[in-house]
Symmetry: C2
Subunit: 439 residues, 2 copies
């Protein structure tokens, strides 16, 4: 296992990027029965029939005495179809226009959900991101939420209506439509939960909840009943697909519980809540895999103060998240710097790197097909030997660890993409996640 | 031919309904090369290939030195497909939500046109109705334009960009999306032409221009090279499908020429312009047919002052256009009143009628399958015998005339739907429209 000569963490950069600057959010006072915000993902609204099915869940929440706000995604594969349409017209469409195009997907769904609720005899009204003043920054295709003008929502709720909101979208200060990037509908869900001081954000999906690992890779993975915000954030940031880091970050900041559940039945899913002392009894709550990473290596960059900051500030300004930064200082007054990015960011990254190299000198190399396996648990803070257990599990499988990064409640190992799934299964078993936790 | 005992015109009501109240439109001063506003209908943007084809026309206008604003409809049959989707969800969707749904159609097209122009190396930016502050009244599904905030459009034009605007849509004062009803994209075209003081509004369609009659019914119909606003308005109001009355009304008010032309080639189409003295040499410029009319007859309504106004105000408030009003006063102090509406308005009309009859007494009868054949020409003001020529042409075909209505430049005859197409052909021939006008 290689240990770099000089290693330092730039994780603050990463968190700075992930954090939505949600300002201007005076919260609503709770009065009587609370507000429930429900979100239905694309598979839960893929057909007219499913839209009626989802509407019945909405109406049930209203019938139980709650005020109900519903956030929806585009139907089924609509977003992919719109992207394909754009590609037919242009190989590299401007992001502003792509956002203008993609935002229609959710707008179709909100109208149809409102119609379905009406058809079932209840009153509903739909809003686009623009119509509820969901203001974001100006970064098209991965915008961050800044504020929501909740007045119209409150007025309609108080008039007895169910309010339907388009997820994934907002507008910037010029009125241009922006989209919130992958998992943007979840960001919409939790931001609405926060400004409306909701009792719970219900995230309806096609899975039963958050699992100890991806069940498609680890057949023995189990559904987790309750997990802390911090654990969920760490799991999300290292590849658990069900809920994005920034959505959970919001939820933690405003202490809104998220209930991840299956839209196909009424059984409870996974509650994501504030940490409790009993959670600390479990060293590792779950593990996750991030595939499709690329390692970027910069060779012979001048080893001067400010150079590293220059590099990563430029990358951050291009809204690219980097991780696993390693710096080796060489004898000749230069340094080698490597870091990982997701494959999807490489097209945006390359022009930034070329600019930097033209300015600083040195050379860049790109290594595809890396992966990262991680274990997460708040109990890790107290438990000894967690790292050792993980490294031994990988060593027993003859898996080479190319880098290690940790937080207080997470250990991650960078491995070859070819070893990734085997690594996840080995770690899942090593921490006893194949069996339910002791009562 | 029956002549009613008492007949009067309520055409003012009809015009009041058709007239968009376009206020707040200080016009732009012309500076240097002018603005061209182009509109592409649904068939002209039905596929990625057609979108590129349309984009080349846009770029050509820009290359010729103009500032270019483009108004687009939804692609191909998108609007019908969205309506079908709504019907799958609800038998009678709320109109606000239907507008929310339908407006996505044009939003898709604007983004794709902007992308196609970018892909061809030019700069373009797209706007929804909301984004250019196209404010309408609150009548969902047939809203009227009140004002357009042209500042953003002008700023982008002055920055060298081609501006793409979604036709058919706007927002009301609450920010709810409205749609402008049938031909709404043409209303958008001409309203933009008016506020931007455009040199010309180019209306690209899949036909070569305005014809002396519908060529699908009258094979000898010819393309008209130039026609006055008034003639076009009359033709539109009595069934010529190519351009809606209110769009032409705008164009006349602001003296913006409209050029109706085929998007498939570059040959000139029909210019719709202010009346010139030479136009008066032709008694009849064109004729048209309105099919699918229903005659509504109210029997034994009290013959008191104010009753007729009560009836037609209630109908107008439901945004239904009526025509061919006939009132027969009977000896018993009651009156029979009949009028025609389009079949499509009957569902909206019936509840209004029930309410009125409950209040006033009397009974209503509905006769389907009426049609109206009309001839239009500014020369009619000078020429004698136009009405006689028309009545004789119909009599020769043994077609019974059920009602006659006229304006200064139009004569219309209500006939049975079964006689309609035969009536149109007879009238077209009788006025010599089968041959080109004398030079």
């Amino acid at each position: 296992m290689p240990r770099p000569a000089a290693e330092f963490s730039m994780r603050f950069l990463r968190f700075w990027l992930l954090l939505d600057k949600l300002t201007g959010l005076p919260r609503r006072e709770k009065t009587g029965m609370g507000i429930v915000v429900q979100k239905f993902g694309g598979t839960s609204v893929a057909t007219a029939e499913k839209i009626h099915f989802a509407s019945r869940k909405v109406i049930a929440a209203k019938a139980s005495g709650h005020q109900v706000v519903v956030v929806v995604s585009a139907m089924g594969h609509t977003t992919d179809e719109l992207i394909n349409l754009a590609r037919q017209v242009s190989p590299n469409p401007p992001k502003r226009e792509l956002d203008q195009l993609l935002a229609t997907g959710e707008q179709v769904t909100i109208a149809l959900i409102a119609m379905a609720i009406h058809a079932q005899g209840h009153d509903a009204i739909s809003f686009t991101g623009a119509q509820i003043g969901l203001i974001t920054d100006a970064v098209h295709s991965k915008a961050r939420i800044r504020e929501i003008d909740k007045r119209r929502i409150i007025a309609e709720l108080d008039a007895g209506k169910i309010v339907i909101v388009a997820g994934f979208q907002g507008i910037n200060e010029h009125g241009d439509i922006t989209t919130l990037g992958r998992g943007g509908s979840n960001a919409s869900l939790v931001a609405l939960g926060a400004v409306l001081n909701a009792e719970v954000c219900e995230n309806y999906t096609d899975v039963d909840g958050v699992y100890t690992a991806d069940p498609r890779i680890v057949p023995t993975a189990r559904k987790i009943d309750r997990i802390s915000y911090d654990e969920m954030m760490e799991l999300s940031s290292v590849g658990a697909g069900v809920l994005q880091t920034r959505a959970v970050e919001f939820a933690k900041k405003y202490n809104v519980p998220i209930h991840v559940r299956n839209s196909g039945h009424d059984r409870p899913g996974t509650w994501i809540v504030a940490e409790t002392s009993s959670m600390e009894n479990i060293a590792v709550s779950g593990c996750a895999l991030k595939k499709d990473l690329m390692r970027v290596s910069l060779k012979n960059v001048p080893d001067r103060p400010g150079i590293v900051a220059r590099i990563f500030t430029a990358i951050a300004q291009a809204n690219i998240v980097v991780d696993d930064i390693i710096q080796n200082v060489l004898d000749d007054g230069t340094a080698n710097i490597s870091f990982t990015v997701e494959h999807g960011d490489v097209a945006d990254l390359k022009p930034v790197m070329e600019q930097l190299l033209a300015e600083l000198g040195g050379a860049a190399a790109y290594e595809k097909d890396m992966a990262k396996v991680s274990v997460v648990g708040v109990g890790m803070k107290q438990a000894a030997g967690v790292a050792g257990t993980m490294f031994k599990a990988l060593a027993d499988q003859k898996i080479n660890i190319q880098n290690i990064s940790t937080s207080e409640i997470r250990i991650s190992c960078l491995v070859s993409r070819a070893d990734a799934e085997n690594a996840l299964r080995a770690v899942h078993t090593a921490f006893g996640l194949d069996q339910p936790p002791a009562a």
